[in-house]
């Protein structure tokens, strides 16, 4: 087991894909000589050359659309949308084309396309650059949405995504690139798509999050542990398909649950989790399922305001305490 950064994990699975499969190429803005906006593809251009590392014009729709076309005829493109904020400019290609061509063609064409992108707030980059749209993509039939939070998950999930034949949104988090974690030794290591990760077990409450918020939930569990409160912590890892079983089973044990996400509360993805929990574990619940989410505002630039706008370990712990004091 070696310890690597999340960034290195992404780089390594990309290299692996390029090395193992001639049909794989990368395409995106500034992924060439610049090395990628988050330095993920540093050195790739020099190593793999122009054919496989396609530094593309600043044009999100055609970046994805060209990926769709190439995938339709059997290549396996991995395209990068520099951040999920810019994915709005490619949304037509993702939602109206990538996700639907297989179904609309009566199954004649598959689209084995991986779209890597970067979500998240907290980097002091202002409202247009701090959004989390993965929940929207998770509501689109035909897509698979993956949100790794650790280097290990990046590796295990990316490898599994490569084995799919349909479009994937592989959503990295802007604040995680520098974080470290253990890397699996085996090249065979895979994490099945649609399997949540029970990160920590406890009997009092279930904390559930995805992407960076899974880590925040873990930190909150640390805080709570010091107070004698033991939490199950679940990292969803995939939003579509969604592993509700793991969540429901946990709640059946703990009887209380708190969902944590970074995007705004009203209309966020957490509502789905709340719904499934109360549908499938209604009689087990001792309190309403709680939600901790981003404030209902465009993310402000100013550092202290931004911190108030996104969930923290402290705010999660505080909400958990409230839920536990109830009844």
């Amino acid at each position: 087991m070696s310890v690597i950064t999340y960034r290195d994990a992404v780089s390594s699975v990309l290299r692996e894909a390029l090395d193992e499969d001639e049909r794989v190429f990368l395409m995106g803005e500034d992924i060439g000589p610049y090395g990628g906006a988050f330095a993920v593809t540093k050195g790739f251009y020099e190593q793999y050359g122009k054919k496989r590392i396609k530094d593309s014009p600043l044009a999100e729709s055609v970046i994805v659309g060209a990926g769709v076309g190439a995938a339709m005829v059997g290549l396996r493109p991995v395209v990068e949308l520099m951040t999920i904020n810019f994915s709005l400019l490619a949304m037509d290609q993702i939602v109206n084309h990538a996700a639907k061509i297989r179904y609309m063609s009566g199954g004649q064409f598959s689209i084995p396309l991986i779209i890597r992108t970067v979500t998240g707030a907290g980097a002091s980059v202002g409202a247009t650059h701090s959004q989390s749209f993965e929940g929207w993509y998770a509501s689109v039939p035909g897509l698979t949405v993956v949100t790794p939070s650790t280097p290990r998950d990046v590796i295990g999930l990316f490898r599994s995504c490569r084995e799919l034949n349909d479009p994937v949104m592989f959503v990295e988090h802007i604040l995680l690139y520098g974080t470290r974690g253990e890397a699996p030794d085996s090249g065979d290591f895979r994490i099945p798509i649609g399997q949540a990760d029970l990160r920590r077990t406890g009997k009092d409450i279930t904390l559930c999050g995805y992407s960076r918020m899974a880590l925040v939930a873990e930190q909150a569990a640390d805080i709570l542990a010091r107070e004698g409160i033991e939490a199950d912590v679940i990292d969803l890892r995939c939003l579509r398909p969604l592993d509700s079983e793991t969540i429901v089973n946990s709640v059946k044990k703990t009887h209380r649950a708190l969902m944590v996400e970074e995007t705004t509360r009203l209309g966020g993805f957490a509502g789905e989790l709340v719904s499934q929990i109360q549908e499938d574990a209604f009689d087990y619940l001792d309190a309403p399922v709680g939600r901790v989410a981003g404030a209902e505002v465009p993310i402000p630039y100013s550092f202290p305001l931004e911190q108030l706008a996104i969930p923290s370990a402290e705010s999660v712990a505080a909400s958990a305490r409230k839920l536990l004091n109830r009844s």
């Binding site: 190429f25 054919k51 396609k54 593309s56 014009p57 044009a59 729709s61 055609v62 994805v64 659309g65 060209a66 990926g67 769709v68 076309g69 190439a70 995938a71 339709m72 005829v73 059997g74 290549l75 493109p77 037509d92 290609q93 109206n96 084309h97 061509i101 297989r102 179904y103 609309m104 063609s105 009566g106 199954g107 004649q108 064409f109 598959s110 039939p141 035909g142 698979t144 084995e163 799919l164 034949n165 349909d166 798509i193 649609g194 579509r240 398909p241 969604l242 549908e279």
Partner: protein, 340 residues
């Protein structure tokens, strides 16, 4: 106009084949309008009447392994590429036997067998996909061409610009083929594009080879495409073709098309590509009334058979609703036991 002597490589069979395809498209569309009126086709229906020379002239120059990508006004291209009229009609009717198994419908025809990469109903979206197919051809070092159809309306969209620019800078083997019928839905291109009268020149912005052609002359379209195909196959990069044409009907069957000036409509009625080609075949002494009568009767039969096939074909099975969303796993939420 070309003379028969200009196209010595075309036999009478070839030429009558073009005539037959155009006629088939026309009669197919007439039948589909009838079926729409009878309620056997629902939703939107965009017919191709008046533009037949484009699909027939252009697509017949392609090799089997080339690719066709098109927009929602796609029946003509599908038939010209060789999808059976039965399968197309069944698709329009939403039947299981349709070329997209009834899942796609009129605007979303597909055939993987024929490299017919789809009709796309989001105006402009298919240009990006065509660029990607071109990219794959180049990536593999092959010499196929990708022929991508769209309307003059699509030229307004941002995706037009992004796709043209990418294809140009990466030298992709894509022929961007604009069916310039002077209108989007109800808006005249004169009101939406400064360059409406020399639309092909917009490709200068991408340093791309560009051509204008009479879209109502099947041989001119074919002739130009033959030349372009050679260049594109040779790796000379993408091309932009603008074919001037006119839709003889409204935008869709719901559209009475009363926003178009009478003189314009009647001018273009006189340019109908089918009588034009028929006259040409007659004048050049290639075909006789008997030839046409035989073909026309044969086309009528085919169209009747297509309609019958469509009508008699079964609907998709209810279970089919959930099939085909993913290649590797079932769709979410397939109804099982007791959840509400």
């Amino acid at each position: 106009m070309l003379k028969a002597a200009d196209v010595p490589e075309l036999t009478k069979t070839d030429l009558l084949g073009f005539y037959r395809q155009m006629k088939l498209i026309r009669e197919f569309e007439r039948e589909s309008e009838r079926q729409y009126t009878r309620g056997n086709i629902k939703g939107f229906l965009h017919v191709y009447n008046g533009e037949e020379a484009i699909a027939v002239g252009a697509i017949n120059t392609l090799r089997e392994d080339d690719y066709v990508v098109t927009h929602y006004r796609d029946h003509g291209q599908a038939l010209a590429r060789g999808i059976g009229s039965k399968e197309v009609m069944a698709e329009l009717m939403g039947k299981a036997t349709g070329c997209s198994n009834g899942k796609g419908g009129s605007m979303h025809l597909f055939s993987s067998e024929l490299n017919f990469m789809g009709g796309y109903a989001i105006v402009g979206g298919q240009l990006c996909i065509a660029a990607g197919i071109g990219l794959a051809v180049q990536y593999r070092g092959n010499d196929q061409v990708v022929l991508c159809f769209f309307g003059d309306g699509a030229v307004n969209e941002g995706e037009f610009h992004e796709a043209m620019n990418l294809a140009a800078i990466w030298n992709l083997p894509v022929i961007f083929f604009c069916e310039h019928n002077l209108y989007g839905m109800g808006a005249s291109s004169k009101e939406t594009l400064v360059m409406w009268d020399s639309l092909h020149e917009m490709a200068a912005a991408y340093g791309m080879d560009r051509y204008e052609v009479d879209g109502n002359d099947v041989l001119e379209v074919r002739d130009l495409m033959q030349k372009i195909n050679i260049d594109v196959r040779a790796g000379k990069g993408p091309a932009f073709v603008v074919a001037r044409t006119y839709r003889l009907r409204g935008h869709s069957v719901a559209d009475p098309a009363d926003y178009r000036p009478d003189d314009e409509v009647s001018y273009w009625a006189g340019q109908d590509p089918i009588p034009r080609f028929r006259d040409w075949l007659t004048q050049e002494g290639i075909a006789t009334v008997e030839d046409f009568d035989e073909i026309d009767a044969n086309v009528d039969e085919e169209v009747v058979a297509a309609a019958e096939f469509g009508e008699l074909s079964p609907w998709p099975e209810p279970d089919d609703l959930y099939h085909g969303v993913y290649t590797d796993r079932p769709a979410e939420g397939i109804p099982t036991s007791g959840s509400s």
